[in-house]
Symmetry: C2
Subunit: 248 residues, 2 copies
Amino acid sequence: MTRWKLTLEYDGGPFVGWQRQDNGPSVQEAVERAIHAFSGETLTLHAAGRTDAGVHALGQVAHVDLEKSTDADTVQNAINFHLKPAPVAIVDVAAVTEDFHARFSATHRAYRYRILNRRAPPTLLAGRVWHVATPLDTAAMQDAANALIGNHDFTSFRAAACQAKSPVKTLDTLRVDRDGDEIAIAVAARSFLHHQVRNIAGTLKLVGEGKWTRADVEAALAARDRSRAGPTAPPDGLYLMRVSYDPA
Amino acid sequence: MTRWKLTLEYDGGPFVGWQRQDNGPSVQEAVERAIHAFSGETLTLHAAGRTDAGVHALGQVAHVDLEKSTDADTVQNAINFHLKPAPVAIVDVAAVTEDFHARFSATHRAYRYRILNRRAPPTLLAGRVWHVATPLDTAAMQDAANALIGNHDFTSFRAAACQAKSPVKTLDTLRVDRDGDEIAIAVAARSFLHHQVRNIAGTLKLVGEGKWTRADVEAALAARDRSRAGPTAPPDGLYLMRVSYDPA
C-alpha cells in the first residue's frame, strides 16, 4: 500500500462542494470515481479543507491509500484522464508516509478572495469573482483588515453550521491588494472557521463602500455575535490557494 | 447624432466570432441587439478587428452612431443590461468626433496568446488557454521570436482567406514570458494579417518543444509560403488586449 498526496485544482462552479452529498455532484465523488476507474479500488479521499459549493481551488490537498503498485506520474495522468470532462485536475502527486494526513497534518492554509470592482459585469471571469460595482476604497479595507489579524474569537465571522470546537483562531495574513479593476484579499491561517473568509470579505466590502468604519469591524469582532458582522460574500470569488505541511 | 466609441470585453467561446454570420451567434449581433433594445435604433457596429470564433477580447473597440440623446454612463449601463446573460460587456464608453473610425483610425493593436504549459489539463482556464503538456523552452521561443520582429513579408503566417492587400506588416512587439505554468506571448503591431498571431504562436510552440530552431523560423519567414510555417494555434488562447488611437 502507498499513501499518495494529491494536489488538486478545480472550478467549484458545477459542484455542491468538496464533500460527497446526495443533492448533486461533488469534487470528492468525481475524484474517487476517477481513482476507481484507474485502480479498481473503492476508497475515501481525505481533503485538507471541505470547500463549499461554488468555491474554487488552485491547491487543495487530499490523500488516498492505493494498493495498486505504481508511480506518481502514472497516478497523476491516469486520474486526470478519467476525470475528463469534469473541471478538476491533479496538478501534483507525491508518495508520503502513513503518518501524513491531508487535513490533520496541515499547518497552514492560504485563501484568496477575488472582487471585480467596476461598473461592467464580468465576462471571462463570470463565476470566478464577486462583482461589486461600487468603487471600493482598498486603503480603508486594509486598515480595517488589520484589526482582524492575530489571535481572536471569530464567533462573529463563523457560520451557524460551523463544527469547529473553538471559535478562537489566529489569522496570520489578511492583505487587500488592487490590480486595476480587481481586488484580491489574501488570507492565511493554520485553520479557519466555516465561512470565515467569506464573512470577512463581506464585511470588508462594507468598509470599502464607506458604509462601515474600522471601528465598526472592531465592534463586530468584539461582539462575538454572527449577526453583528457583515454578510457572507458569494462563493464565486473564493479560492483555496495552498495548503502547507511541515517538512517530513 | 453622437458617435460613440465602445471598448468591449468578451469570452469568445460561445460565439462564431465578432462578425455577423448565418451559422451562429456573433458578438456583433449580440451588441447590436442590445443597442436596439435600449435605443430602438437599428444600426451597424464597426469594430477595430474581426476576431475569429473562440477568440477573446479584453479591449476590442467599436464605434456606433446613435440618434438618441444620452450620456456615456447611460450608454454603458443600458447596453450591458440588455447584453445579459451573454458574456460580453462594455467596459468603457466615450463620445468621439465623426472622423473617428474604430477600424481605420486604429494605430496600434495588442494581442496576447496564453499557453498553459503543464501536464495537467486546465480547469478554471478551460477554453481560455492553449494546453501544451510538453515543457516549452521559453528562452528558445524568445530567440526565434526576435527573428519575426520588424517589417517583413508575413505570407508564411497568413491565412488563405486573408483579405489584406499586402502581406507586409511591421511587428513592433513579440515577447515570450513565463509565469509559473503559464506562458504569455505578447504581440503588437499597427495591424495584422488573418491568423497571423495564431500562426506565430503555433510556430513558436514548435521551437519551444525543440522540434524547430530559430533558423527554421527564419527559413519559414523567407519562404513566403504558408505551408512552410507551423500550424495555427487554437483560438482559446488568443486575446485582443488593446487598440490604440492617435490623441484627437
